[in-house]
């Protein structure tokens, strides 16, 4: 697309500015530098004159560049550092593809994009100030980085001091805007021309979408945004996304031999299924190997309806692999922690010992090693594997499955089939144990998290539903009890364990689900919601259908548990653990908060028998396209 061949396009768009100009009309096309020079000569007319232009600003071209990347939405809290882009997006770009999403906090913008990407498989565009906006956004960016999720961030900044006026423009300017988040983004650039912006913008998208997927940052300079386009022969480079890295063939063959030879292999799935195809690929391998698949639910990797699904029990992230003679780890976050145990409480010289049997073989397939960084310690403890394959698991699995098939002899097929029956029966028994555990405290008040999960599931199980929040803090009851068989039915966890993620991620995921007509539901911790509750308004303002069921235990409960345990460790009073951790006295009225942000809401609900009817009423509103929230007072976990 050559911008200079289309000079008349939208030529009257800013005509009103020309008409509104006063004494500076004759200087309209000369830009601020010439303007300043004129002002020196004729201070009586120039010093306070408005700079107007009927020429296209650079932000129009930037808009074309960003539209070419196929973004559906741009989430932002408004900021003067990208005002040019915002004006162009709306008046020049028509506020379509991307559509502007108004956020009340930059952390919400990024976390929305995080949740959106997990459903849609591609990034949402984010804009923020290069300084204060990015500072707000940084924790959410860290979560997305740790969770290997692509987020596309455009930062406004005025690098040239001569272009800044006073007040906020100096304190909102920075030499190297992306420096603050460089440790936890994959790539960034600060283009100094429009052609540079075009190339870097396309490159950034390509990098973000290459596994390991991670956030990228492009700085949109204020001068480039707001000055008229003067560069000749501007064009937008063609985007060609990179084929994902696949494990080296001989290593994949070696892995297949080990898997076929193993008597009881176990697959541990971390962030495997980037797309629905990843889930299919893992199912095909499990079907061939007939071995247990432990899905840590960092992604929706494996259907819970499959007989090989082994993720029962409370601690989904750290499955029991003690009976395995081979463990295949697919993009597992803390694989060492699954293979080994250590002293329960921190201390120097923590004892560790393997959870696995002596002689158990370990294989890893991971793309993370392609982009390790050193400052933030998200790489976890070193795994002493027998075979380590660098590659994207989703893309590597088909070759591995084919290699396994070719190696299977008739004898091994018989043994594997027998193993499959045994594994399926063990998994069935484990699932039954979970159901019996869910019955304990069924009629309790505060409401048990198992009861809450099942009351919700009863109302949605016949719909095309999607659980767009993290269920870990609710003892993973949905993961343990619901039937998940579609990739979009669960979006996993925060990544960096940064609280404040869940509510905006749920709104972002629900936004992605909206056009597919899916019913989005979210189990929402109270502590998490309080970081930036304004995202409830964003959901209302943009008519994002989403049912939020509060898991309101009235505390930052994880920390409360830590404090009680430490007090006991030191022979001190554990009853003080509420100080600094409880969210009570007064109890926070989440229903009133949600109503204030324009949502349908009910609560607090403490009687378990009242929950089902309340969910039904709320879902009626959600099906009309409106977000709703139920404040449910729950057991701690």
């Amino acid at each position: 697309m050559d911008q200079t061949t289309d000079k008349t396009r939208k030529s009257d768009r800013r005509g009103f500015l020309k008409n509104a100009a006063t004494g500076a009309a004759g200087l309209a096309a000369t830009g601020p530098i010439a303007m300043a020079q004129q002002a020196t000569l004729k201070p009586e007319t120039g010093s306070n004159a408005e700079v107007t232009s009927n020429q296209k600003p650079g932000s129009d071209f930037m808009t074309d560049v960003l539209k070419s990347l196929g973004f559906e939405y741009c989430a932002a809290n408004p900021g003067s550092a990208f005002r040019g882009l915002q004006e162009s997006f709306i008046n020049y770009g028509g506020n379509k593809s991307p559509e502007w999403i108004t956020c009340c906090h930059e952390e919400s913008s990024v976390a929305m994009a995080h949740g959106y990407a997990k459903i849609e498989g591609k990034p949402m565009l984010i804009m923020a100030h290069g300084t204060v906006g990015l500072q707000h956004a940084s924790m959410a960016i860290y979560n997305a980085y740790c969770d290997r999720v692509p987020v596309y961030i455009v930062l406004g900044n005025i690098l040239d001091a001569n272009f800044r006026r006073g007040n906020a423009e100096w304190v909102h300017s920075v030499q190297d805007a992306a420096a603050m988040v460089r440790d936890y983004t994959k790539w960034d650039d600060a283009p100094v021309s429009l052609s540079h912006f075009a190339e870097s913008a396309v490159r950034a998208y390509k990098i973000a979408m290459t596994p390991p997927n991670e956030p990228v940052v492009i700085v949109a300079d204020g001068v480039l945004q707001e000055e008229p386009i003067t560069e000749k022969h501007l064009r937008i480079p063609k985007l060609v996304t990179t084929a994902p890295p696949i494990g080296e063939t001989s290593a994949v063959m070696a892995a297949a031999k080990m898997l076929v030879a193993a008597e009881n292999p176990v697959i541990v799935a971390g962030r495997v299924a980037r797309t629905p195809q990843g889930m299919k690929n893992l199912v095909e391998l499990a079907d061939v190997l007939q071995c247990k698949v432990m899905d840590t639910r960092m992604r929706m990797n494996f259907p819970s309806t499959h007989p090989m699904y082994g993720s029962n029990g409370a601690v989904i992230a750290y499955p029991n692999v003690s009976d395995a003679d081979l463990v295949l780890g697919l993009e597992v976050q803390d694989f060492w922690g699954i293979l080994n145990k250590m002293t329960g409480l921190n201390k120097f010289g923590m004892e560790t010992e393997p959870k696995t049997k002596p002689g158990t073989k370990v294989i890893t397939i991971s793309a993370i090693e392609l982009n390790h960084k050193s400052n933030y310690q998200d790489f976890f403890r070193y795994v002493e594997s027998d075979l380590a394959i660098t590659g994207d698991p989703e893309a590597t699995l088909p070759e591995l499955t084919e290699a396994v098939k070719k190696l299977l002899t008739a004898d091994r097929r018989i043994a594997i089939e027998a193993r499959g029956k045994k594994v399926a029966e063990l998994n069935r028994q484990a699932h039954q144990r979970d159901r019996e555990l869910a019955a304990v405290g069924w009629d309790a008040s505060p409401i048990s998290t198992a009861r809450m999960a099942q009351e919700l599931y009863a109302q949605i199980k016949n719909e095309d539903w999607s659980l767009v929040g993290n269920d870990r803090f609710a003892s993973s009851w949905p993961t343990r009890l619901w039937k998940f068989d579609k990739h979009y039915q669960y979006i996993g966890t925060q990544g960096g364990a940064g609280i404040g993620y869940n509510m905006p991620a749920a709104v972002g995921a629900a936004l992605a689900n909206k056009k597919h007509g899916r019913l989005s539901v979210n189990i929402q911790c109270d502590g998490d919601l309080n970081y930036a509750p304004g995202v409830l308004w964003t959901a209302s303002h943009h008519n994002i259908p989403l049912l939020t069921v509060m898991h309101n235990n009235r505390a930052y409960h994880e920390e409360r548990m830590f404090l009680a345990l430490l007090a006991a460790k030191y022979d001190r009073d554990p009853s003080t653990s509420n100080i600094g951790t409880e969210l009570d006295g007064p109890a926070i009225d989440y229903a009133s908060i949600a109503k204030g942000y324009g949502q349908y809401a009910e609560g607090p609900i403490s009687n378990p028998n009242e929950l089902g009817p309340a969910i039904k009423r709320a879902l009626e509103q959600v099906k009309k396209g409106r977000p709703a929230l139920l404040d449910v007072v729950t057991q701690p976990r």
């Binding site: 019996e436 304990v440 405290g441 309790a444 048990s448 003892s475 345990l565 057991q635």
Partner: protein, 116 residues
Amino acid sequence: MTKYLILISLLASLLTTSAFAQTKAGDVTNGKRLYEKDGCYQCHGYVGQGGTAGPRLAQIRFPLAGFIAFVRNPPSGGMPPFRAKVLSDQELTDIYAYIKTIPEPKAAKDIPLLAQ
């Protein structure tokens, strides 16, 4: 796990013949108060249902002596020892009495939302 059970049994027998023998019958009301005040519910739930952070206590199978021995010397995991300075044998006896009052749950098959 077997070695822990042996250890617990050993400690239980020691406790039975020492200070533990001096405790009175458990006070359910005080046990419930302590269960909540000192944070047992935080990991095990208000009705001992268990969860991500701690195992189920409802319908506990340990005898009282085994329960006290476990709390004093829990096997490796997230729970530290709760020594007598924090919870006396009598207080643990009261907590145990409360836990024992937690009613038996229905079978999952008898709860429509859990019957599959």
